[in-house]
């Protein structure tokens, strides 16, 4: 800054006013003081910045304290999910009970259907056995009946001739009207008996047909038996589905219980559910080796020097956490630790250090 004030520039014929010279000198002095201070400040800032960048690029023991509040977005989200999970478990339990009741009812119904089926089968079998026994005998009786009827029919033909004889005898006055009426009534009775005998024969034939062949009644019974089997089969399918659903619901309940158990190990759960204020910190994976339970925690001035022990690592949560690097601001992955802090204000520091003092003082 070897400079000459004014002498080289101003017109010698126009000397500058002393006041202006003084003003220039004062301004220049102030400017130079400001410039020197600023430049040194900038230089110091740049060097500090470079040192901090380099320090955090190679240091592997830092952790970034996280202050989680119950109203924290993640905590709220977490608790909301937890409540939903618990509600789901309760809903599933109700479903399970309902399904178990339904299953029991269905089992009972199935048992009654099976019993009915067995009784029906027994009835069918006994009837078939009875028919096998009585069918041939009834057929033989039917044949005999038919033979009897034929004989009766021949007799009736003769009776018709007697009827004509009675009427001629009556007309000839050989018999009284009373006798004639009595004789005609007897003849009529014989006809009626014959007709009854024919009817009995026809009915006997039906019975023989029923007992010796598969008739409509038998088919109806068999149809009912088939319906019964179908009902049981459908019930089996329904039962099987219901049992699987029940198993699935039980598994879902187990899974939700497991998830809640794991969730209870989350810092967000602890933070949201506990009464005590908890202090967490983010540890990048690169620094994970230094994050051991019981390791001392140091808080430092200027994020690196004049450190003092402020607590220990209490718990390590394995769930992954992603945050922005406190210095580089890029996204980094890591895990969360719970700190047992003797100086709670250290939770507000930008970084803390695990294991040892980073610069040994």
């Amino acid at each position: 800054m070897a400079t000459t004030i004014l002498d080289a520039t101003h017109d010698p014929e126009k000397p500058r006013k002393p006041l202006q010279l003084i003003a220039y000198k004062v301004t220049l002095t102030l400017y130079r003081v400001f410039a020197i201070v600023t430049l040194y400040a900038v230089l110091a800032g740049i060097l500090s910045y470079a040192f901090v960048m380099g320090f955090y690029a190679i240091n592997s023991s830092w952790a970034a304290p996280l202050i989680l509040s119950a109203s924290d977005e993640k905590s709220l989200d977490f608790m909301q999910k937890l409540v939903i999970s618990r509600q789901s478990i309760e809903d599933l339990k109700v479903d399970v009970i309902r399904q178990q009741t339904t299953l029991a009812e269905m089992d009972k119904y199935r048992a009654s259907l099976l019993a009915l089926g067995r009784e029906l089968q027994t009835a069918i079998t006994s009837k078939q056995n009875h028919d096998q026994l009585t069918g041939p005998e009834l057929a033989a009786l039917d044949k005999q009946k038919q033979a009897d009827n034929r004989k009766t029919q021949k007799v009736l033909i003769q009776i018709h001739q007697i009827d004509a004889q009675i009427k001629s005898d009556l007309a000839a006055g050989l018999i009284t009207k009373g006798d004639a009426a009595t004789q005609l009534a007897a003849l009529n009775q014989a006809n009626t008996d014959y007709t009854d005998s024919r009817i009995a024969d026809v009915m006997l034939s039906d019975s023989v047909l029923d007992k010796t062949t598969v008739g409509t009644k038998t088919l109806e019974v068999l149809e009912k038996q088939a319906d019964l089997h179908s009902d049981i089969a459908q019930l089996d399918v329904t039962l099987s589905v219901a049992q699987k659903q029940l198993q699935e619901d039980n598994r879902q309940i187990d899974r939700l219980h497991d998830a809640i158990t794991i969730a209870k190990q989350s810092p967000y759960y602890l933070n949201a559910s506990g009464d005590k204020r908890l202090y967490f910190a983010f540890v990048p994976y690169d620094n994970q080796a230094n994050a051991t339970v019981g390791a001392p925690i140091y808080d430092c001035y200027l994020n690196m020097a004049f450190c003092r022990k402020v607590g220990t690592v209490k718990q390590i949560f394995l769930g992954e956490q992603v945050i922005n690097h406190p210095i580089f601001k890029n996204q980094i992955r890591g895990l969360t630790i719970l700190m047992d802090l003797s100086r709670p204000e250290s939770a507000k520091s930008q970084t803390v250090f695990m294991g040892r003092k980073p610069l040994f003082f």
Binding site: A35, L39, I327
Partner: protein, 411 residues
């Protein structure tokens, strides 16, 4: 509010820059008529002013290259003015005077070291030519340079004409490769839209032609430049260009008027040079802002935008870089800036190889290092320039170069 304003200004600066480069490309390809009307038959008398400080043998080479120019020897002269060099520059000037007798060479010396601007003014005292060409003493000139410059004054209203400055050492190292591309882009693209409106904002002091009467009019102001009493010796080229425009004359850069300069090969030298340039840019910005209404009425909007937004961009870039580094220090380390810069470098390298063979760059990938330079430039040079306005030295020539005995020829 402040950050939004900051972003807005930065955005405008970037847009202006990008638009100017694109405009330059379009105008070059589509409107050859933007070139000035030249008249080679008009051959005014010319004085080539050669201010010199600690250039050593280089000044001899410069005078030698001028002596070989094809302008009529009786129509021009060289006035070499030494600003009390601490090396043997003056001896080299005298030697050139003795050796190149085909042209008129006058050698003078200041009574005391007073900086380049005043050295030019002192040299001007001995001139009576119609056109004054001020040159840098470390440049080598094309034989057509003077002819090309004077031919442009045939267009009425042109007050100052500049030449195209090429890089004579593009492949010395990464630093020179970067500068080659920057120089090429500036002259072949950035200044083309300014050429169209005859309002180039800064004609390089390496090759600066101006009408004598205009320079005489400006000279008192140039001599009187000071900053709270401290003489301002830097950025006389920008100042002269600005003053030319403010007096209603046009300015133009004739890319056919060539000269070659060896750009700094060392980072420290480049830093000093850039600091000097940035300082003059900022001075110019403050001058423009101080008399903005006058500028608005007198100058083309393109000129005002360039004069205000370009330097303002430099200041804001500093704030942006600081903000960027403090909020996301690794943002600049991503591949995107590198890819962009390498893409630009590849395009310019191709263009240079095709249109300016002498400046062909062997290692265009080196331009990737421009990212680092941009950061350094934004972070250090702008604040340093703002805080060293009281510096009045010759910048890159502040220290004496190694002495070369007179009579020792360059290889």
């Amino acid at each position: 509010m402040a950050p939004i304003l900051l972003w807005l200004i930065m955005f405008l600066c970037l847009v202006i820059s990008v638009v100017k480069y694109l405009m330059g490309l379009i105008l070059r390809l589509s409107f050859p008529s933007i070139k000035i009307r030249k008249d080679y038959t008009w051959q005014p008398t010319v004085s080539v002013l050669l201010p010199c400080y600690n250039e050593g043998r280089t000044v001899y080479n410069s005078i030698e290259s001028i002596s070989k120019c094809n302008y009529p020897n009786d129509r021009f002269e060289v006035i070499a003015q030494d600003d009390c060099s601490v090396d043997d520059s003056h001896e080299w000037m005298l030697k050139a005077q003795r050796d190149f007798t085909n042209i008129s060479i006058r050698v003078g010396r200041n009574d005391f070291n007073c900086g380049k601007a005043r050295t030019v003014c002192n040299a001007l005292q001995g001139s009576s030519a119609e056109i004054i060409i001020s040159i840098d003493s470390d440049c080598i000139f094309h034989p057509d340079a003077i002819r090309e410059l004077t031919a442009c004054f045939a267009e009425p209203g042109i007050g100052s004409v500049g030449g195209r400055v090429g890089v004579s050492n593009p492949n010395d190292n990464v630093i020179t490769a970067i500068q080659t591309i920057v120089y090429y882009a500036a002259f072949e693209l950035y200044k083309i839209p300014e050429n169209m409106t005859r309002s180039v904002c800064c004609i390089s002091g390496c090759l600066f032609a101006i009408r004598r009467e205009l320079l005489l009019e400006i000279e008192p102001t140039l001599r009187a430049r000071h900053w709270f009493g401290i003489p301002v010796n830097q950025g006389e080229d920008r100042f002269l260009t600005h003053q030319t425009l403010m007096r209603g004359y046009g300015t133009y850069i004739n890319n056919d008027a060539l000269c070659w300069t060896a750009v700094p090969t060392k980072l420290s030298v480049l830093f000093n040079q850039q600091l000097r340039w940035r300082s003059s840019i900022l001075r110019d910005l403050f001058y423009t802002l101080r008399s903005l209404p006058t500028h608005v009425f007198k100058l083309h909007p393109n000129t005002i935008f360039t004069m205000v937004l370009t330097p303002l961009g430099a200041v804001i870039a500093l704030l942006m870089v600081i903000t960027m580094l403090s909020t996301n220090p690794l943002a600049w380390a991503g591949p995107e800036p590198l890819v962009v810069y390498l893409g630009i470098a590849a395009a310019f390298t191709w263009a240079i190889k095709k249109y300016s063979v002498r400046e062909t760059i062997k290692h265009p990938l080196a331009f990737g290092a421009y990212i680092a330079w941009s950061l350094a430039s934004s972070l250090f040079i702008t604040p340093l320039a703002l805080l060293t306005f009281d510096s009045g030295d010759w910048g890159t020539r502040a220290k004496a170069p190694e002495e070369v005995p007179i009579g020792h020829n360059n290889p």
